[in-house]
């Protein structure tokens, strides 16, 4: 079994904003191993979110390559990238991005629904996953009836319910207070340590960085420190 989940080789990404090129990434190399809990840190515009998006197949490198679970993303078309995200990657967003019309259980089951899982099976697994993030009692609530921390836990449950090979979190604590952030980080730590979940998170929150096993600092589109 290959221990490397993600390989980034010489990835560059340049955005042309009003004819002025912005070099978001300049030849980044990175390997993410199974069971890693990595924080991508750096100031705004350092390229951490861009790198996270490349790893997640949401964006494509201008040069270089990103390989996720032995699949070269540069060789995939849009539909194949969609399918790869559906099958292999879990996403946690800063703004939770839950579907407001669905209950917590239905939100968690939604990705499984896209995968074609039966209603019974996904309901069972959604409840199990909600229990694993401590929300078994809120399965029937809608996002509007939950706190920010609870919504983010539902978002994590949605991301991990399909048992992805990689969990990507973009500023997961940005909208949370410190107490809720602490609870969230403990949950991510538990997922990483107890279930071997590989987690990559983009953040500029020192509290998040303190919880991760590897810290990668970016500045001006390049990795400057990797521990």
């Amino acid at each position: 079994m290959n221990d490397v989940v993600v390989t980034v080789r010489g990835a560059t990404r340049t955005y042309n904003e009003e004819t002025i090129p912005v070099h978001a990434l300049r030849g980044v190399d990175l390997e993410v191993h199974r069971g890693d809990f990595i924080s991508l840190a750096g100031p705004s515009g350092s390229g951490k979110s861009t790198l996270l998006n490349l790893i997640g197949g949401l964006d494509q490198a201008d040069e270089g390559d990103v390989i996720v679970d032995q699949v070269s993303l540069s060789e995939l078309n849009e539909n194949q990238l969609s399918d790869l995200r559906l099958e292999k990657i879990g996403f946690v967003f800063q703004a939770y991005n839950l579907l407001p019309v669905l209950t917590a259980e239905e939100n968690v089951g939604f990705v499984m629904q896209l995968q074609g899982m039966s209603k019974t099976e996904r309901s069972e697994r959604a409840r199990e996953t909600l229990a694993s993030v401590g929300l078994e009692d809120l399965a029937d609530r809608r996002p509007g009836d939950m706190s920010g921390g609870q919504q983010q836990r539902v978002a994590i449950a949605r991301a991990i319910a399909t048992k992805p090979v990689l969990l990507l979190a973009d500023e997961p604590s940005a909208n949370l207070d410190s107490g809720t952030t602490e609870e969230l980080l403990q949950l991510l730590k538990k997922l990483n340590e107890e279930f071997g979940m590989t987690i990559v998170t983009a953040t500029h929150d020192p509290m998040v960085m303190a919880y991760t096993s590897r810290k990668i600092n970016l500045r001006d589109g390049a990795i400057v420190v990797s521990t």
């Binding site: 997640g56 194949q80 559906l86 991005n97």
Partner: protein
């Protein structure tokens, strides 16, 4: 499921096909909840669609009711719903092109369901004279007892009464004025009988009528059928037309094709009143133009609604794409939402139409006093009774379903070019 291979040490990927199709039916449930998210907008959009359905079906129902009323009233003045004639009489109304055995024909037709009354007529053009004045007119020999029952012309007399026996004539008021005759005067009629003989008839004018149709008032003279048969040397069971009055216009539509037979041509109201058919077709074109305008206005409002929906839910669509939903699945979901809103609008529109038409078909719609007087003088009803138009329904519903689908698709197609990252960032 995933189908990714590692070949000769080179990383390659081939199509990954998770069973996304199985998720599609479940989109209906999500779509339904989505349209309840912004209830006010959903109801406004549905009301717009309902208004279009209401306009299309109600306006057409009124029109159908008015058309049926006009056809029926027009038929009951003179022409009847159906006429049975000699096969060539319509094109060549010569005295010889008559039908025989009218009593048997009348008995047969009167026995059929949907038939109200049947009567025979013989007719020819002739010269009418009184004193020094002469005018050409159409002389119609009628079974006056029956005509008095069904023909509204017989109740349009402005002076005198309708025919009650032999030797009497009922003539248009304009013709009477032209001839300078009044009730009780003798009218001399001279025409051409069968095989070129002279048809001569003298009748007492017992009544004059004003139909509101000048061509009738100045050119039609009714006399008893027996008098006509004697004067024009027709046999006692010989006439030119058998007039059929059906219980309704709809009944006449069914009856007309059944009554034709060898030696007997059946003409329905469309054949008898081609001007009426043309007028209806012209009005129908106007109605369709109205339908198109209403549909376009409503469809633009639906486009606007879905542009707002896409604008507001862009971050959500970004999330859906990020977790693996393909853009066309999101478009399908929006189309389902549009369909559900459309169905709501259709149900609402049809409900209002059904109730409205149901009530008004019983009570009728009173026409303005002036129009009412005019219509009364023409023996037409003073109220209009709408008749639910299934034809309009079969047009309005598909037009609105297709229209709203198109309206949702136009802004929805933007999703094909939307990137998940940009969509997610739009919330920031």
């Amino acid at each position: 499921m995933s189908d990714i291979s590692l070949t000769d040490g080179t990383l390659t990927a081939v199509a990954i096909r998770p069973d996304i199709k199985r998720a599609t039916p479940e989109l209906w449930g999500v779509a339904w909840r989505n349209i309840t998210r912004t209830k006010r907008r959903t109801w406004l959009t549905a009301c717009g669609i309902a208004f279009a359905i209401l306009m299309m079906t109600f306006v057409r129902s009124l029109q159908v009711g008015a058309f049926i009323g006009a056809v029926d009233n027009s038929a009951r003045i003179m022409l009847g719903h159906i006429q049975l004639q000699h096969p060539v009489y319509e094109d060549d109304p010569a005295i010889e092109n008559s039908i025989h055995g009218i009593n048997d024909i009348i008995a047969d037709v009167e026995s059929r369901p949907g038939v109200e009354i049947v009567s025979a007529r013989a007719q020819s053009f002739a010269l009418t004279s009184s004193g020094e004045r002469s005018f050409g007119a159409q002389i119609i020999g009628v079974q006056y007892e029956k005509e008095a029952v069904w023909s509204s012309l017989t109740r349009m007399q402005v002076d005198g009464r309708y025919i009650e026996g032999p030797g009497e004539a009922f003539i248009g008021s304009a013709l009477a004025r032209n001839l300078g005759i009044t009730i009780g005067d003798e009218l001399v009629i001279l025409g051409t009988a069968v095989e070129g003989g002279v048809a001569a008839l003298v009748a007492d004018v017992v009544g004059t009528y004003t139909s509101g149709q000048p061509e009738l008032d100045r050119a039609i003279v009714q006399v008893p059928l027996q008098d006509f048969q004697v004067a024009w040397t027709l046999a006692p069971d010989e006439a030119h037309t058998v007039i059929v009055i059906a219980e309704s216009v709809a009944d006449s539509e069914e009856l007309a094709p059944q009554l034709g037979r060898a030696g007997l041509r059946s003409l329905n109201w469309r054949d008898l009143q081609p001007e009426m058919v043309q007028m209806m077709e012209m009005k129908l074109i106007g109605t369709y133009v109205l339908f198109i305008l209403v549909a376009i206005i409503v469809i633009f409002s639906v486009v606007n609604s879905f542009m707002m929906i896409i604008f507001e839910r862009t971050p959500e669509f970004g999330m859906l794409m990020a977790v693996g939903m393909r853009p066309h699945h999101i478009i399908i979901q929006l189309q389902i939402e549009a369909l559900l809103v459309c169905i709501l609008g259709i149900i609402l529109g049809l409900g209002i139409t059904a109730v409205g038409v149901g009530i008004l078909s019983e009570t009728g719609i009173a026409l303005p006093a002036q129009a009412g007087e005019l219509l009364k003088s023409m023996a037409m009803p003073e109220r209009m009774y709408p008749v639910f138009s299934f034809g309009a329904l079969f047009i309005a519903v598909p037009v609105m379903v297709l229209g709203t689908q198109l309206a949702a698709l136009i802004p929805g197609l933007r999703l094909r070019h939307m990137h998940a990252v940009d969509a997610l960032r739009s919330a920031e």
